[in-house]
Symmetry: C2
Amino acid sequence: MRQHHNIPARRGVACTVSRGQFVKLISTHGEQAVDTWAYNASDVSEFMSMEATRTTIQKMRPGVGDVLYTNNRHAILTMVEDTSPGTHDTLIAACDNYRYGLLGCTEYHDNCSDNLAAAMKALGHTITHTPCPLNMFENIPWTLEGDILFEAPESKPGDYVVFRAETDLIIAFSACPQDLMAIHGVDPIPKSADFEVYD
Amino acid sequence: MRQHHNIPARRGVACTVSRGQFVKLISTHGEQAVDTWAYNASDVSEFMSMEATRTTIQKMRPGVGDVLYTNNRHAILTMVEDTSPGTHDTLIAACDNYRYGLLGCTEYHDNCSDNLAAAMKALGHTITHTPCPLNMFENIPWTLEGDILFEAPESKPGDYVVFRAETDLIIAFSACPQDLMAIHGVDPIPKSADFEVYD
């Protein structure tokens, strides 16, 4: 069975995935960052951790074949396919209303952190904080001197990444509503994305 | 008034610091990593965030003059002095018992995550998770290709770093008990460190 889900522009969606199932995240329009989280389905205090993943795989970003780990060092997802150039990010915090305040917004701005909380709430879970996301299709290069840059995504329309679930989990995505920085390429308007879950 | 605190080898210590005070962390023996956290003293759900800091300062590691930010994007510490070569780390998770299990331990191993929890508990706070620490004197280089390396610290005995508190906060340190990887230089035995708090 193949379930299809749309991630509306500027919004978040979460759903349960069984161990062994696959999750295919599709960059429907290209050049759209999608913040990604995963939680242990039976205990959401265990979550996919960028710092635990970096420590174990000794890489700044995961690639095909790499396992993503939780804060308890358990395998939660494996990246099994990626048709994009692979420029995903593990360094940058999910955007939140505070961030948009620093960028000059004086009114509420949609943000990935609230999108995560709302998506988890829809499944009955109240989360205590926003883990650092796996920022899919977000192009954040670094230099040897330690500078971090924000650049346009390299993903083309239709590019996709497939993950295998290593445990029963909740996957959560947010189609990033960032429209004040050039992280979404030449067209800064945030767009939707899609994902599928299948055996 | 100047308070002196010892961080025993393999253990953690936390204490409150008032806005405007200084915290001087001393690498007493050199080559000893010290995991560092900070919390808003009036609400420990607000904590120093490596991902929020990297996003705001656009650097992989803070240097003198850089501000460290919380998950709510508020300034919490500023690094005002550093006599070491500055090779601190924001990428690597605090060690925990799970990590030592992956490294082959079959029995409990002292770890920074439990040290943080115990140090916060001693001040009456139960924390919900271990934020990614600021790993002081921990030498974790990266390559342009995205590989992450674990190398010996560059700190010499007596090197120190001074932070200014930007809000009333709790500072927590753990003298890292890692003795299975070469992150503590030629002598792998974990050692103590010291810190001072003063106006």
